[in-house]
């Protein structure tokens, strides 16, 4: 404790992560098995364990965070959310049966309503997580209206979609400003200082790399004589390909070009994604403020690529293992089924195997992802932070109360959850 000054603040401003990867793997693997046998009910306990691990092992200025939420709170929040959502779903179901304009619109209305509700849930869930985060004997909390946030977020998402993502940096900045100016550590008010325009400038090259090939592909396809093509296919006959070629010369090369460009665009997106994530994470964490406490992130792109490389490595090993086990299991199922007298035993056994195989594979990939990318991003994101103005920590006063887990339950039921 040599680095502590008289007041007990570690002024070096570093953040350390103390957790052990091995322990996290064990926690997640056990969780995945239990998720499977409990059809997912265990998730409230797993999420709580994960957060306790991540929070407890994150040491800021010599003191670790504490996550004080419980699985029972999450379960209760989920049940309350279900109680609210059942009538809504029932209403949409009834509306969909209506033959008039109501029935036709019900799909769109349901989508829009659930999208807004999802944003509402995100804000409420953030409030729950913040009020369950304790540091130096004080809790964080969040004010502001979840509906106001949901309204803003929906408008911003619309703008982002209409501009093919160009508005995304401004969306992030605006929503983050709203969240952070309503966020408090004790009585210390948060704020967000990063500029959306800066992120826009930094992200623009990536956006161009992704969209230029895509735009070329689309322009090429739109330029074709589709009518002639449809007619050629509709005529049918033995030699459809040559008819197509006759109806629209140059079609083959145009399609090949479009596929190449589309493929290039997708490949670039996949390759650039870690860099994109690093850019956002750096920009975001460098913008966080609490009173005079400021943060600066030194996250390196190379480190994030390392995390993804580990994911790819583990995922490949896992895929090979699953393929071998799957082949053996299917053979055994077939042999077993032919011994029984029931006609449908074979297909049913096969279907069940595929079902189990699907669940195991999905859970396996999600576990590997959490143990590699997610943990690394947390650890790297935290350890690359440099905090300044920490002397403010001496005199923060307690404020705020614990909120209910309704938002978490709603986010869970609507599938918009985070950590």
């Amino acid at each position: 404790m040599a680095s502590l000054d008289a007041g007990g603040i570690d002024t070096s401003g570093g953040v350390r992560f103390l957790g052990q990867r091995r322990y996290y793997w064990r926690l997640l693997t056990r969780g995945a098995v239990l998720l499977m046998v409990t059809l997912g009910i265990y998730r409230f306990w797993l999420v709580t364990d994960v957060r306790r691990f991540l929070w407890s092992n994150t040491e800021i200025a010599g003191e670790t965070l504490e996550y004080s939420g419980t699985a029972l709170e999450l379960l209760l929040g989920f049940l309350v959310a279900i109680a609210l959502l059942i009538p809504i779903y029932a209403a949409f179901f009834l509306a969909a049966l209506d033959l008039g304009i109501l029935g036709k619109l019900s799909g769109v209305v349901a989508f829009a309503a659930l999208a807004v509700l999802g944003q509402y849930a995100i804000y409420r869930a953030r409030r729950y997580r913040l009020t369950r985060t304790i540091y130096r004997g004080l809790r964080f909390h969040q004010k502001g209206s979840a509906w106001a946030y949901a309204f803003r977020a929906t408008l911003w998402w619309t703008a982002t979609i209409l501009t093919f993502g160009l508005a995304y940096p401004f969306q992030l900045a605006s929503l983050e400003r709203y969240k952070m100016r309503n966020t408090f550590y004790g009585d210390l008010a948060g704020s967000f200082g990063a500029s959306g325009f800066m992120l826009f400038l930094r992200g623009l090259p990536m956006w161009l790399l992704f969209f230029v090939p895509l735009a070329l592909a689309i322009r090429n396809l739109v330029g074709l004589d589709w009518q002639a093509l449809v007619d050629a296919v509709a005529q049918g006959g033995d030699d459809v390909m040559s008819k197509i070629e006759g109806a629209s010369p140059g079609l083959g090369s145009a399609i090949v070009f479009a596929m190449l460009m589309g493929g290039l665009s997708v490949a670039l997106a996949a390759l650039l994604y870690p860099a994109f994530q690093t850019m956002i994470l750096r920009w975001w964490s460098s913008g966080l403020r609490f009173g005079d406490i400021e943060m600066r992130s030194h996250l390196r792109v190379r480190q994030v690529y390392g995390a993804y490389a580990r994911f790819v490595g583990f995922a490949s090993l896992f895929s090979i293992a699953m393929a071998i086990i799957g082949a053996i299991a299917l053979l055994l199922a077939d042999a077993g089924a032919s011994l029984t007298k029931i006609d449908a035993a074979g297909p049913i056994a096969t279907t069940l195997m595929l079902l189990i195989g699907y669940v195991v594979t999905a859970l396996g990939f999600s576990t590997i992802y959490r143990a590699t990318v997610q943990l690394s991003l947390w650890q790297l994101g935290m350890e690359s932070l440099q905090l300044s103005g920490l002397s403010a920590l001496e005199k923060v006063k307690a404020s705020g109360r614990a909120s209910s887990a309704f938002g978490e339950g709603l986010a869970d039921a609507l599938n918009v959850g985070g950590y």
């Binding site: 007041g7 239990l34 265990y42 306990w45 004997g137 004080l138 595929l354």
Partner: protein, 378 residues
């Protein structure tokens, strides 16, 4: 036990870090284990807090330390102990401190046990409860509601089936040249409807779809696919399949399937939430479950068809003949489970139930010829 196992001299005092829960200031404190309580005092010797052992709780912390709080406290006051010997001593005295994790493990086992129970109960309800509920609920639905349900499904089914060929309507029997075919179909339907005596009117359409298939929707709408007309060699084969579909209508199988589907997606989708793409699992599970319902429903519809054909004076065996030709996939979506042994069993059952007296012709030869041309176009 004050004379713990740590050594000959129990460790009754040590140091810790204390946060009072009012400000974020960090206090180096002396910790003393009194007989009934844990006493926390500052360097000046002033007592800062005194926590009875039974109110002390252990909180989430990294492995290197023990973090304690007080249960009844209005603030989030915290005491952090980094000396292992002192932590062990507190563990011995405070009942709710559980460093070995045995309390937590026991609680977790309870959770797992009950979750398994809930899972088993859900599967049982899905397997036995839902079909029973749907079977009792479906006959209680008024005909008007069922018809409305059918109309809603009809829009979707049509948009799913309609290949959108240009220049022709999806429905056959509308052009002038197809009218005699339509009239022949109507005659066939009248004969079946009189024999069936259903409380609701049937609406039968032949549609331009190449599969040899027919489907029944809730509320009495039956679609016969062009491919079936093409494959059939006599009116009885078509009548047998339509009678099978009338069986589904009479048994309200479509309505039951809808109710079961809604119940299943609710049970598995809503209650269990989604863990990594659980939605897809729900869909697959639904398929397995529903095709097992529909196998029984198929057998019942076959029985209905033979009975109806016997009543109408047609050849009930014709259904078995066309079933053999088409491989038995008379319902969409159940092809995996409808392999040969199943179809064979159905054919045997149909032939067992069919009447032995010679059948009366359902259509005159020229009517049959017209029906074969119902999709010929104008």
């Amino acid at each position: 036990m004050p004379d713990g196992t740590e050594g000959p001299y129990p460790m009754n005092s040590g140091t810790g870090i204390y946060f009072d829960g009012i400000t974020s200031a960090r206090h180096q404190v002396a910790v003393e284990l009194a007989p009934d309580s844990l006493r926390i005092s500052g360097h000046d010797g002033r007592l800062r807090a005194e926590w009875p052992y039974n109110e002390i709780e252990e909180l989430a912390a990294p492995d290197s330390m023990l973090r304690l709080g007080r249960r009844s406290s209005a603030t989030l006051e915290r005491l952090e102990i980094r000396e292992p010997a002192l932590a062990a001593e507190i563990d011995v005295r405070a009942t709710h401190v559980d460093r070995t994790g045995s309390l937590q493990r026991r609680q977790r086992m309870r959770v797992i046990g009950w979750s398994l129970g809930a899972t088993a109960s859900l599967v049982l309800v899905a397997w036995f409860g839902l079909p029973a509920i749907a079977a009792r609920l479906a006959p209680m639905l008024p005909a008007a509601v069922e018809r409305k349900l059918g109309d809603a499904v009809d829009m979707q089914v049509r948009s799913m089936l309609d290949p959108g060929k240009k220049g022709v309507t999806f429905d056959c029997g509308t052009a002038a040249a197809e009218m005699p075919g339509r009239a022949a179909l109507d005659k066939l339907m009248r004969r079946l409807e009189v024999a069936a005596a259903l409380p609701i009117p049937l609406r039968t359409n032949v549609v331009r779809k190449d599969e040899a298939n027919a489907i029944a929707l809730p509320g009495g709408r039956v679609y016969v696919f062009q491919g079936l007309i093409a494959k059939a060699e006599n009116p009885d084969e078509i009548a047998g399949v339509i009678a099978h579909e009338i069986g589904h209508v009479a048994h309200r199988d479509g309505t039951k399937a809808m109710l079961e589907g809604a119940g299943l997606s609710f049970l598995f989708g809503m209650l269990l939430g989604d863990f990594v793409g659980g939605g897809a699992v729900v869909l697959a599970a639904r398929n397995v479950l529903q095709s097992s319902y529909s196998r029984e429903a198929e057998a019942a519809a076959d029985a209905y068809s033979t009975d109806l054909m016997n009543k109408a004076g047609g050849d009930a065996r014709a259904l078995a003949v066309i079933l053999e030709k088409t491989g038995g996939a008379t319902e969409p979506g159940v092809k995996i489970l409808m392999d040969h042994p199943d179809t064979k069993a159905r054919i045997a059952a149909i032939n067992r139930m069919a009447a032995t007296r010679p059948p009366l012709p359902l259509l005159e030869p020229h009517e049959w010829a017209a029906l074969k041309k119902i999709c010929a176009g104008s």
